[in-house]
Symmetry: C2
Subunit: 351 residues, 2 copies
């Protein structure tokens, strides 16, 4: 896929497939932090080293299996980078970086990597639903591929060396994106978040650290990267996520038993508004999409599909809108385009 | 029509027809106040006189042309009376009356009368759109019919005698129901209301004196009943209403030119919400129906018809809901039934 395609396609191809426990967990992600031996960490690299690393990783990617695109950031339009961030293919930090950077994306967008973010290389891999093992396997496969050409900095006692000590060891962070409207609506989310924090599990908004839980979406991941092997870490996050799924389902059952008319109203209004509104702010769109998703998750609505719901979410975001309009939009232009793209997606599916 | 039919049919048959200037004026009404000669006004009548008058008017109605139903209030269920009030066939004051009362309704509901409200007899007649002359003609026809059997109290100088001096003379009040969202949205309504008050025109909410302007609906009527003949009064109100129509249309044109995306959004959201919500309060329903009506009036929507819009309004009201449910509803039951009746009407029309 060309950068043009990555930046204009709302739905990553890997999200077209269904995944396990998708009524609560949208997707699973594995992220590996790696650094090249004998080089300073990015924050202390020379300009020449930055450029050399981009070259090196580029040729390693070229030799890997699968169909990859490799893009020096200097050649990517800022609005395209914004879209990649909105699709979680690069991190918000990567956009703000001041080093020479590059990124690689596999054709199906289920694997991607960043060069010169916090570490020399950060690999990401995704799978739909609660399915951390395949995501980990993909990430490790990319890691192996790169290792044919690159020499990772490893310490026999501490494992992979990373710029920030919190990533030391496996360099692995497993995370799942959870939709928890039942726990939010029944006001039991606070209790759960506390329990997870005590168990060493991090919970964040969907755009990572410091972002709030838009649309009742939460990113759940391991805090610890050291001292366990990758499989054990992945299993740990999966087990926590399974418990969260159970609690969310219980919360929804209680809501269904006690407040069905309110839930029905919320879900159907969301459908009515998304299918009809002519102006939609990002905040409202995300809230209404969350309610629509709840309707599908609880079996109150037969459509849209989970894939369409995920696409709606990307379509709602400012970068994607500007990219689609091929220009910077006015505030009202954005509200209009958002509403019209959402309507179009929803009617396309119905028709 | 039986009382059962009057109380369960949301749309009065006469409202099925279209009328002039219906994009602003929903309907026109003529009301005549009459009292029988030689009897005390209702507030000072004996029980025996109240009963005798009910008998007398009943037999006068029976001899009139047209198909009429005559109903002593003692035989009408309170919830049915409430529905008749919501359909404007009787006044709110009539429901609170403590005298023996009766009412008559012509089969098409375009004419009705109350016995022992503020005056002995109050005749009402309706026509769709801005069409005061036919409404007046119908009311005078009923007046003539009753006069064959009843002797009205008339003074050669002051005209018809009425319980309250504000109705003295013709006893005629002409009113039109106007939908003025353009003037409300553009905040020029205050100015108009002031100008009308100075010109001796009364403006009230749609359930008469003391009620607020729900759904951007205003009742515009003559203050003076004395000193002019009926035709002149009717013409006066019609001319004022024509000016109001002109101002409202101008306001809508300005809104269309300056704020079309907001108007579109408002109208389509109303459609989406009314077609999908599962819980609707009366206030919200009336506000959304007003926005939907604006969409039809401005040609942004092809459906529903004006008739359906008027039916939706009656369907939203508490008495009609209780009558339809054939029981007193809980608050949530009412919200649910209102939403479901509205959805049903809107889909019936679309299908």
């Amino acid at each position: 896929m060309s950068m043009n395609e990555h930046a204009t396609r709302a739905l990553p191809p890997w999200m077209e497939a269904d995944g396990p426990l998708q009524d609560v967990i949208l997707s699973s992600r594995a992220r590996l932090a790696r650094n090249v031996s004998g080089l300073h960490f990015p924050d202390r690299m020379t300009q020449a080293d930055q450029a050399a690393l981009i070259e090196q990783v580029g040729s390693a990617v070229a030799k890997m299996g699968g169909s990859w695109g490799y893009f020096p950031v200097s050649e990517v339009a800022p609005v395209d980078l914004q879209v990649l961030m909105e699709k979680h293919l690069v991190s918000p930090q990567f956009l703000q970086g001041e080093l020479q950077r590059a990124l690689a994306i596999r054709q199906d967008e289920a694997a991607a990597l960043m060069v010169n973010e916090e570490d020399h290389v950060r690999i990401q891999a995704f799978s739909p639903g609660l399915d951390v093992e395949p995501a980990l396997a993909t990430a490790l496969e990319v890691d192996d591929g790169l290792e044919n050409e690159l020499d990772w900095a490893v310490d026999s006692r501490r494992g992979y060396l990373t710029a920030c000590p919190t990533n030391l060891g496996t360099g692995l962070r497993i995370s799942v994106m959870a939709h928890l409207p039942g726990l939010v609506l029944s006001e039991s989310i606070g209790h759960l978040l506390q329990a997870l924090a005590q168990a060493g599990v991090a919970v964040r908004g969907i755009y990572g650290e410091g972002t709030s839980a838009l649309g009742e979406l939460f990113q759940i991941s391991n805090q610890v990267t050291l001292g366990e092997d990758e499989q054990a870490l992945a299993e740990g996050v999966r087990k926590v996520a399974e418990q969260v799924v159970e609690q969310e389902r219980q919360a929804r059952k209680r809501l269904a038993a006690e407040q069905m008319p309110r839930i029905q109203d919320r879900v159907w209004r969301a459908k009515g508004i998304l299918e009809n509104a002519r102006l939609l702010s990002a905040d409202e769109a995300i809230a209404q999409i969350s309610a629509l998703r709840l309707g599908v998750e609880m079996g109150l609505l037969k459509s849209p599909s989970y894939a369409t719901l995920s696409a709606l979410q990307v379509v709602s975001l400012p970068g994607f809108l500007d990219r689609t309009a091929a220009q910077d939009l006015s505030r009202e232009g954005r509200l209009q385009l958002r509403a019209s793209l959402i309507r179009e997606r929803l009617t396309r599916e119905d028709g």
